[in-house]
Symmetry: C2
Subunit: 242 residues, 2 copies
């Protein structure tokens, strides 16, 4: 049976980290909310699910993945589930915990990227929190991007099985997620990234390699891949790029 | 061999979610940074560890837990590791994923609680971001606290094995973490919480029950339990409580 992915249509958002894993795995999945409302799709399909009381229990937020009777929420948790099933995680427990630790650090980074344009509240428009966004984005650009990407660079360098992947000697879901982070930052903060990328050559090389993997390349060229835009997590507002 | 917990001394912070699980389990652990510097403790022990290059690989941030040769970072990941080892997680895979999903939602909530006093940057003092903090805290109080606590109330109600615990029919690490969140919110936002608590009776009852568990009660009364203060995640600034 096909996986059912529930995520807001129209943006890559957090759902994209799941999509990349499903695509790399060649897994059969339905992106529920991108189907027409007349076929049970649309954002209303997600909202209806989140309010269901007949299942014990519905997630706090999208994305969530349905696999038969199992419903899994939280992006990193979905990947924790998918990884071993599709060869995108190591079998060794210690390595699997390390992989999950990396993914949770990616989740923190994504949250901070989001808050550059929404430092006050997700319920307000960006336009209603622009001065605060400018201030937060400056700290993100100068402090956080180099700190996070520097850490990824360092753990690539210290992988005893080689710097081509974050964990072990094959691609894992965290490599796909790191690709997506770099892709998003290049879109949102092109000026900042021009300088930062030269400081993290292993991260940049990983980003390039993932983009060239056959299934990922086919996915990125397909209409299943949505474009970045100013409704998602990574938004290009030139005034925030400094 | 005793677990070694690495977390900043002087605050409960994210480390407290781990401490509560270790205390409830009756596990043998050393709170490294609370030892004197002369005995290898203090904040410098954490910083030195984070900069080590001889281990593959060091975490992005504290807390992290050392169990022999395994080093585990990210609070929810540490609990994912400890849970099954100490009877604080169910054995069934689907339930364990559900428990972890809840814990990750708790982590999101904790991050938002922190950002009420640090909406611009963790590297600035609160005093340098007070107007923004006031604005963010208002949205947190009115929108986020009721939304998160309402979700916990709902999942307690929909637990098919009873509303006394979040998952299954015994206490898990998420119950301990939910206790800590409520405790922190009562400290930081007493005025707000006076009204909210009456709306979430199952959450309030769980909070009371956890506080009375013998090992937790003994821990809370001991000098191992630090007091809340204005350096941690939950800070009482009356101007933010509205």
């Amino acid at each position: 049976m096909a996986y059912e992915l529930y995520y807001w249509p129209g943006i890559q958002g957090r759902g994209e980290f799941v999509r990349l894993a499903l695509e790399e795995a060649g897994a059969d999945y339905v992106d529920i909310a991108r189907k027409p409302e007349s076929e049970g799709g649309g954002a209303s399909a997600i909202m209806a699910f989140l309010e269901r009381e007949d299942i014990a229990c519905s997630p706090f937020a999208a994305p969530f993945l349905k696999d038969g009777n199992i419903v899994i929420g939280q992006t990193a948790n979905i990947l924790l589930y998918l990884g071993p099933r599709h060869g995108l995680a190591p079998t060794d427990e210690a390595k699997r915990l390390w992989l999950h630790q990396i993914q949770l650090t990616i989740a923190d980074f994504v949250g901070e990227a989001h808050d550059t344009h929404h430092p006050i509240s997700g319920e307000l428009y960006y336009e209603d929190q622009k001065p605060e966004a400018k201030r937060r984005a400056a700290h993100f650009r100068k402090g956080r991007i180099p700190k996070y990407l520097g850490w990824f660079e360092r753990i690539l360098a210290c992988n005893t099985e080689g710097p081509k992947q974050l964990v072990g000697n094959t691609v894992t879901y965290a490599d796909l997620s790191l690709f997506q982070i770099v892709e998003g930052l290049l879109y949102a903060f092109p000026t900042t990234m021009r300088n930062v990328v030269t400081e993290v050559p292993r991260v940049a090389a990983l980003h390039g390699r993932i983009a060239q993997r056959p299934r990922i390349r086919a996915y990125l060229a397909s209409n299943r891949r949505l474009s970045f835009n100013e409704q998602g997590i990574f938004r290009h507002y030139p005034e925030l790029d400094g």
